[in-house]
Amino acid sequence: MNELMRRMLFLPEQASTFALDVDRLHYFVITVTMVASAAVAMVAIGFFWKYRRRRENQATPFIAPTAMFEVLAISVPLAFFLLWFAIGFRDFVKVSSPPPDAMDVYVQGKQWMWKFAYPEGPNSLGVLHVPANRPVRLLITSRDVIHSFFVPAFRIKMDALPGRYTEIWFTATKAGRYQILCTEYCGAQHSKMWGEVVVMAPEAFDEWIKEQQRGLVSRQDVLADEIGQVSPQGSLTQWGKQVAVAQGCLRCHNVDTREPSTGPSWVDLYQQTTKLTDGREIIADEAYLTESMMEPTVKVVAGYQPLMPNYQGKLSGPEAAAIVEYIKSLRSDRTAQAIGGAEQ
């Protein structure tokens, strides 16, 4: 029955304890809705058929509702509505009060990606690993604008507010990979702000997190997930690449081709003569590249929108310099060597 309704309503699979609660109430409410709408429609059609106009100047009797009708018209729907409210509110209180033994994960949204951090480490980008059958509390925040953390398969959603934390919790029931979506409009790439929850068997998770913590000494392996190559104490160029990945630069800037993306490609960008929106021409030197990170909307390359977030205060001096070094290294004759697995 559950499975049938779920498929009929196009609901995603139920992968958390909360999902089943929500879905049961959902079926109840939607069934009543369908029945009520159909009933109103049937009665209207029935009346139309029975009482269609037969004569041009037909008169009709004056009919007013009885007190009984009025009482029923109010009390029957009210009874249903209040029942739904009671069940729904109970479940809502449940999902917003995490059990004390819940494991904490910090979630940070930023344009346009999700970052996760466990109190004892590690950090990760875009992929949240959680154990099955253990309550997990998410402490959600944002770095720029409001985002909303949504896992359809868990039926949970909570806004990420900049500068504040919100909380929600879940207990995943099935191992597997589930999509995370952002549901609060947050800018140009809102519809690409996806992530993934990886639910692992509890033992596998314990194993995983231990391994991660061991590797924390040189934190780069978190990025390794993303880049696909590990380079603990690499050159400035490689550090720049890692920073660029971590900051999400590569979501908008291509590094493997000269094709423009949301922003201009970085390949062959260094020392290139570039035309700006206001008609001026500049040479993309170190100063311009750094300025573009700190005040991105001042000098926008012609043909692009002033969309890039401001990295003032988000990048340290060395980090910015490292990114510039990385950009300098991206020459089309050397591309194959430089990209690695950066593009997803």
Binding site: P12, T60, A73, F81, P162, Q179, P306
Partner: protein
Amino acid sequence: MTAPITTTALPPSEPVFPKKSYLNDGTTIRSWLLTHDHKRIGLLYLVGSIFGLFLGGIFAMVIRLELLTPGPTIIEALTYNRMFTLHGLVMIFIFMIPVIPSVFGNFFLPIMLGAKDVAFPKWNLTSWYIYMFGSALMLWGLITGGADTGWTFYAPYSTTTTTNITPVLLGVFIIGFSSILTGLNFIVTIHTLRAPGVTWFKMPLFIWAVYATSIIQVLATPVLGLTTLLVSAEHTFGFGFFDPARGGDPILFQHLFWFYSHPAVYIMVLPSMGVISEVICAVARKNIFGYKMIAMSSLGIAFVGFFAWGHHLFTSGQSPFDAGAFAAISMLVGIFTAIKVFNWVGTLYKGAIAFTAPFAYICGFLFFLVFGGMTGVALATVSLDVHWQDTYFVVAHFHFIMVGAVIMGFLAALHYWFPKMFGRKYPENWALLAAGLIVLGFNATFIPQFLLGNAGMPRRYYEYPERFTSLNVASTAGASLLAFGFIIIAIYLAISLKYGEVAGRNPWGSRGYEWDVPSPPPTENFDAVPVFTRGPHEYQDVPEELAKVGHAI
């Protein structure tokens, strides 16, 4: 039943077009643009809001076409984001808020009360100019500044966006003034200009609905005004009222915004409900079932609807206490709507129903309102909203109410009152065809969106995962059908304006007060102060003369 005294002689069996009416009392552009006649001002609003519908409709089609495929289809992400902002703002502020109260309210409210004009005719005209100016400023800002915030302007995205949103916000602020003035005018008119015999409980139900709407307009709009001012000041000067980076509270923005924008839904839907109450009596030729319940539920919705705003904030960090309080209050709004629905259906009982285009729209309206309303109750059920908030389920729900119910009401009003406003009939067969297309197209557009929401597709998505494709294609197909229906209506109504059959005073055999004046009405509405001795919805004995002049059935 006594014949109304203004009806000196009932029209001859072959109706003639009156020589003098408000339409030809002055034919220069100037006589239209400087008119104080509430009927002409109503038509001016009609022009403005239909332009809004046209524009908003085009944006909607662009959006639907873009969503035909999962990846980029015809426009870029930024253009898409601007499109849905444009679509929302234009449809809400230029089309839907003024369309029924300002167009049909202006035109019929004084006539239904037996008055010659609204209380403050000059302010009425001023209000239209403010509306046009605000709309122009908003459109100009949207097109040149390229606002991409969505119509909700959520801070801090809106306060930090690089697009220029200040003119848009000021445009909204100015349109708000127009809305306030119209509402204020209507309330005063209803209080002071009722003709003898039109007591509070003999007012047509459309008036009750407009009255309730006006209360919301007057009390809610100023809060939106202040909020838009704060956001634009913050965007321009970096004040930080709503920006947490400077200590502000983004949830406070949501509270203030929805304090207007939730009741705004009732600004749109209440007049539509009023129209249905009028039209259903005329097509069923039957007294309204439960007059007082319908009248009082309008006021109830206006009052309780104010305090349901928090159900937009269930997942935004609002406290569970407030969530519970707002959810409970939201349920009450559902009750008031349910009361209305039962009474409308009850009105059909033992009636004499004619299947005409307005009746087709009533059927559509009832279905959309019940389904849209019930999904609204479902959304207000807190735990369910955690899954549905900001997904296509919400989009589908509010389109059921705002497009389904409101546009059905608008089209029902347009068809029902078209003969009164312009003195000519429209072709019934074409109208029924268009009505069928629209109801069908509408369902095909938005029912898939409910399912998309269930499946978890968030709103304002430019691209989407592959698994949502089939439902999106279905939705786009439905939207095309819907657009096609609107085109048919536009064509036959335009033709009927000039070549339609002459309607005569009362082609429907309606007992509404407005049908006692000639079609189209003269500038002064009534030669002398009218005395209404009957109620507005009484059909126990239809005078022979009225009934014979039947509409094409």
